[in-house]
Symmetry: C2
DNA sequence: AGCGCTGCTATAACTATGCTATATCAGATC
DNA sequence: GATCTGATATAGCATAGTTATAGCAGCGCT
């Protein structure tokens, strides 16, 4: 009996975690029943008792991915520049996808999402809509339906990510393309073109700073470096 | 010996066609070695003699899909409204993807494209770039790098399609979102806003007319209905 | 305590899938 | 006409997901 992290306790999360790790490291094809079981140190039956089968395990991994994405988006916080914050949401989306391409593919691209998955996916969209609404309320964007604008933003951002994942767009091209297109969209939505440009560069700088902090060490917790 | 469409002759195309049909009707998971073989009326060895294995068969199906897409884009032709033609390219892309979601997913989303696939995929992008260049040359768009503009267009269009395939966007929302965003982008690229609007409605009408013709019958060959 | 019930786990077996080895056969070449 | 080449059919192997079954731990009840 070699049970480490199971009992009636953390078996389910452990299986999800192992499955997510397998997908992340080896792709969707690397997620095999027997493999997950042996990673967790249990038998193959565990997947059936806790999930019902592999499809349900995969779904649980997707849900976990959506939850992580929403968490990441929420912890970004709000500065006094709502347009920069909006661009930051897009950038975070992009970075998360690039740092975990297999998981992202499993979440959005492997199959049409059913109602449950779509609900989880829409949660992040609501965060995006709120970000757009802030831009409208602050007067940077003209009054408009925030959902419609957010949809345009989302479609573009998702497209860039999809092309990146498909290996059809280089990192550099993605950056240039995004900067130009977002500038165009923000301007069309009512923002001053120069103000929009400043917000975009602000987002870029902030991202670079966060990257630096992350690279330097665990300095993210303390606000020491500025 | 029940060989119908093989010999050293049409075996390869027959296998590709059967494989594409299986993907189209049952999804990527429905493409199984033995299934393809029995559809064509041969043994499983045929896949190995003509392709080397299932991965290579899948690749051949992707290439076939890219070729069909390029053909479709080229046969669209050029009217005297290059902006409407450009929008028409995007619409055709969308429609082809929606009419064959499984194949489209297999082409763009299942895995990062290798060099061979990326080359085939870029072919359609070149058509798009040419369409943008026409808009620039005609004076509708400001002088700019056609590739950069085409990339923005492509990213957005691909994003809409990806969200549609993921079941995260309804047909209606996709239409509204595309119309607004393209209007914004075209205007930002130098086109007169009202002219851009007219071009977009023109594309919509043309698409509706083609749909009607297709629904009515094979009237596409003859120009009888108008 | 003893009993039995409930639910999780391990093992083994079943089916299907991709792939490989091998024998057979058709057509080409000299 | 003999031989050689290349494609095909058949059979078999390894691995995948899934299912059936037996065992076992924990719990409540008498």
């Amino acid at each position: 009996m070699s049970r480490d992290a199971n009992a009636d306790n953390g078996m389910r999360p452990a299986l999800i975690e192992a499955a997510a790790r397998l997908i992340a490291t080896e792709g969707a094809a690397g997620l095999k029943l027997r493999r997950v079981a042996e990673e967790v140190g249990t038998s193959t039956m565990a997947i059936y008792t806790y999930f019902g089968g592999m499809p349900e395990l995969r779904r649980a991994v997707r849900q976990e991915g959506f939850a992580r994405l929403a968490t990441r988006a929420e912890q970004l916080g709000e500065s006094d520049d709502p347009v920069a914050d909006l661009a930051g949401l897009g950038l975070a989306y992009h970075q998360l996808a690039m740092s975990n391409p297999h998981l992202y593919r499993a979440m959005y691209m492997e199959q049409p999402l059913d109602a449950v998955d779509a609900a989880a996916g829409s949660e992040t969209f609501n965060i995006l809509t709120a970000g757009v609404q802030r831009c409208i309320d602050s007067g940077r964007f003209d009054r408009a339906n925030a959902v419609e604008l957010a949809t345009q933003f989302w479609a573009f951002g998702h497209g860039v990510v999809a092309l990146r994942l498909a290996n059809l767009l280089s990192a550099e091209d993605a950056l240039n393309c995004s900067a130009s297109a977002l500038l165009n969209l923000f301007t069309a939505w009512g923002d001053d073109r120069d103000a929009a440009r400043r917000s975009l560069t602000r987002t870029g700088r902030r991202a670079a700073r966060l990257d630096l902090e992350a690279a330097t060490g665990a300095a993210t917790r303390r606000g020491q470096s500025d």
